[in-house]
């Protein structure tokens, strides 16, 4: 009897209780909390509606769109002051860049990796300026009537700036089959807050076509599903741009580091989701060093392809009849255009990853080439930077014209309405296009040109994936093909190990095994 009791006791203390401890340990280890649910009011639910059709001033017979602006400002006074300080109007900002001091930075004085620069190509580029007719340097930035209210506030989807006219809509003289004179009464009587069409018409098509620039912003977002973008999906929260890009007094929050340099006026996921959205210690702790975007944007260009490579040096080739050439890849994206050069498009691209602390430098028109590829922008940050996080980026690579004597990138005139005005797109003549571009930008050119590799880095923020498609631990914490293989300034568990510790450790294990086996053999014989 005593022996049976002792056996039961032994069974409990040796097997049942230890197994219970292990069971509870594993049970609590694998139990996960539901992530924090977010409910924020959308712009469309909160904004006060005004019936603009009742205003007499909007019944007038508008000829010039500037008169529409004057009518808007007659009620919405002082709004012009807000707008005329904005980067949408000025196309530049004053920022403090380490090593440069306080400088003005914007499309006036930095290069881009697409058509190289806006200045001198006003007819085409300034179509996306929120003004009317920035044709050349004579544009009056102090005339409030030059503000184009409608491009952002049109809710009828009938207002468009005409291609090639520096931001002007079609007039009686310029109207054609594609661009009609807008119905200003209809449009102005139906204005409202900007929706995705208003923002997207410029921000989806920058660089000369859909998804040329960003990779995560493109026309698919006009009408999309949660699978493409969990925020903007019409089958989901159906958020529009300004639901995240909160706007007060025409100051639109959010930064694109293709033109921005400082860590201000940004939007963060944490603003809505808090910094502990997973309600899970180890996942939330990642946020110290890993941007939300890194795991939640596992691929970009999920619908339409984006330009990964743009080689200007191949531009200018003509067919046997002397006509410009267009060639397409297997997915019907441009692979070659005589006017622009060679392209590589790609879709469902895995991002590159960089440390990024919210500050950046840019390649100014006055800068000289010191590294190849030339960094059109440089995102700052490293592991030891308390503000820096690992960020997913699109790196757009290019090859563009530079002056081998002054070592400066060249400003090229690409656009004109007519042949013979020096524009590359019309004449396919590099020296003339460079001469005109450099003259307009008041820059010295030695007369020589060559081509040089360039890179620009775009942080990714949009097209956040469904949580089921979020990256898994192994995407980074792995010895094979970790997505973070490029970031080597820190120890990453699962990816990194000390070779010598591992070799010595396994040697000790093997020696121990040999030792006990030899000992056992000796005991037996």
């Amino acid at each position: 009897m005593k022996s049976a009791l002792e056996k039961i006791t032994s069974f409990i203390v040796v097997l049942v209780l230890p197994a219970l401890v292990i069971y509870l340990t594993v049970f609590f280890a694998l139990r996960k909390n539901e992530p924090l649910a977010i409910k924020i009011p959308l712009m469309s639910e909160t904004i006060a509606k005004v019936d603009h059709s009742q205003f007499a001033i909007l019944q007038q017979n508008f000829i010039d769109p500037r008169d529409v602006t004057a009518a808007c400002l007659s009620c919405h006074n002082k709004r012009d002051d807000e707008l005329m300080q904005s980067s949408h109007w000025l196309w530049e900002r004053e920022v403090n860049i380490p090593g440069r001091g306080i400088v003005k930075i914007g499309k006036n004085n930095i290069h881009n990796n697409f058509c190289t620069g806006a200045q001198g190509n006003n007819g085409s580029c300034m179509r996306c300026h929120i003004g009317y007719g920035w044709e050349d340097k004579s544009f009056d930035f102090n005339n409030p009537n030059n503000i184009d209210c409608l491009v952002c506030h049109d809710k009828t989807d009938t207002y468009f700036k005409q291609k090639g006219y520096s931001g002007m809509p079609a007039t009686a003289e310029t109207a054609n089959a594609e661009f009609k004179v807008p119905d200003y009464n209809y449009i102005s009587q139906n204005v409202g807050y900007p929706d995705r069409d208003n923002c997207g018409v410029c921000h989806f098509y920058g660089g000369g076509g859909n998804n040329v620039k960003h990779g995560d912003l493109e026309e698919a977002l006009f009408n999309t599903s949660r699978k493409v973008d969990v925020h903007m999906g019409t089958d989901g929260p159906n958020m529009v741009c300004i639901d995240c890009h909160k706007t007060e007094k025409h100051n639109i929050t959010g930064r694109s580091y293709s033109v921005s340099a400082d860590n201000t006026n940004r939007i963060s996921c944490e603003g809505c989701h808090t910094d502990r959205p997973h309600r899970d210690y180890i996942l939330d702790y990642h946020n110290h060093k890993v941007a939300c975007q890194t795991c939640h944007i596992p691929v970009y260009a999920k619908v339409n392809a984006t330009v990964m490579y743009w080689d200007w040096s191949k531009a200018g080739r003509r067919d046997e009849n002397g006509n410009p050439i267009k060639e397409y890849d297997a997915d019907h994206n441009y692979s070659y255009l005589s006017i622009k050069g060679r392209f590589v498009y790609d879709d469902n691209v895995k991002p590159d990853y960089v440390w990024f602390n919210g500050t950046a430098d840019h390649f100014f028109t006055t800068d000289t080439v010191t590294t190849v590829p030339v960094q059109i922008n440089t995102l700052y940050g490293d592991y030891r930077d308390a503000d820096a996080k690992i960020w997913p980026v699109k790196i757009h690579r290019g090859r563009q014209a530079y002056d081998p004597e002054t070592k400066q990138l060249l400003s090229v005139k690409v656009f004109a309405h007519n042949k013979g005005e020096g524009a590359f797109w019309e004449d396919l003549d590099w020296p003339e296009a460079i001469r005109h571009g450099m003259e307009y930008n008041e820059r010295y050119w030695s007369g020589k040109y060559d081509f040089i590799d360039t890179e620009v880095t775009w942080p990714l923020n949009h097209m956040v994936s469904l949580k089921e498609e979020t990256m898994s631990c192994k995407d980074c914490h792995s010895r094979n093909k970790s997505r973070l293989d490029g970031l080597t300034d820190f120890y990453l568990p699962g990816r990194d190990y000390n070779k010598w510790i591992d070799y010595s450790g396994f040697a000790i294990i093997i020696l121990s095994l040999i030792g006990v086996i030899v000992h056992a053999v000796l005991r037996i014989f």
Binding site: P18, I22, A29, L30, I282, K474, P493, G494, Y497, I508
Partner: protein, 212 residues
């Protein structure tokens, strides 16, 4: 030969030993998966189980340290060099010739001098290092901390070295269980609590146990 049965391992000690065994196995297994040596449970599950098992291990350690002190069983873990030579001779030659164990276990002297040194080494060198570096691993691994430990590098390297030591210990320890009076005697003792000992008079160990 006459045997005497004596009660060496209390219920708590047996619970402690086998729970610790399972936890160390779990920690070793998940730890090397996190280290990238193999993939079985998945990285995420391994991390979660490793962290939870670490807490269970630390909880068990606190309880058992308390128990050791109160029951004075900690005396078993104080290293000694008395009879160390004899113990070494036993394992390197006596065991092959069927000589008797130099140590006769008693309640307050269950561990031979070699075990005392190895277990004290584990308790002083390996476990505290694993616990401290493990906590650092979980909570102190970013460089903006007041004292920069070079990110994770110092903690992980120490933790990995400790893990290899633990594995080596397990191998030798498991083998040594077979060196009792019979191959299974030591394991049975750790299950039932009772150990059979050859009943010899004038046991040479009485002197040692009296000196403890």
């Amino acid at each position: 030969m006459k045997y005497k049965k004596q009660y060496l391992y209390s219920k708590f000690e047996r619970f402690w030993h086998w729970t610790q065994m399972l936890l160390v196995m779990l920690l070793t297994f998940t730890g090397f998966e996190i280290h990238g040596n193999f993939e079985i449970m998945g990285f995420e599950n391994s991390v979660r189980i490793h962290s939870a098992a670490a807490w269970s291990f630390m909880g068990l350690a606190v309880v058992s340290i308390f128990w050791m002190i109160v029951s004075k069983q900690y005396l078993n873990f104080i290293p000694t060099t008395t009879k160390l030579k004899e113990q070494l001779q036993y394992y390197t030659s006596g065991i092959f010739k069927g000589r008797p164990h130099p140590l006769h276990k008693t309640l307050y002297n269950k561990l031979n001098p070699l075990q005392r040194i190895v277990y004290a080494g584990l308790l002083i060198l390996i476990f505290p290092v694993q616990i401290i570096t493990g906590i650092a691993y979980m909570y102190y691994h970013y460089p903006e901390n007041p004292i920069d430990a070079d990110g994770l590098l110092l903690a992980v390297n120490a933790h990995t070295i400790g893990a290899f030591m633990v594995v080596a210990f397990i191998i030798v320890h498991v083998y040594m269980t077979t060196t009792g009076h019979s191959v299974s005697a030591n394991v049975k003792a750790m299950i039932s609590g009772y150990e059979k000992e050859p009943d010899t008079e004038n046991s040479p160990e009485e002197t040692i146990s009296k000196n403890q």
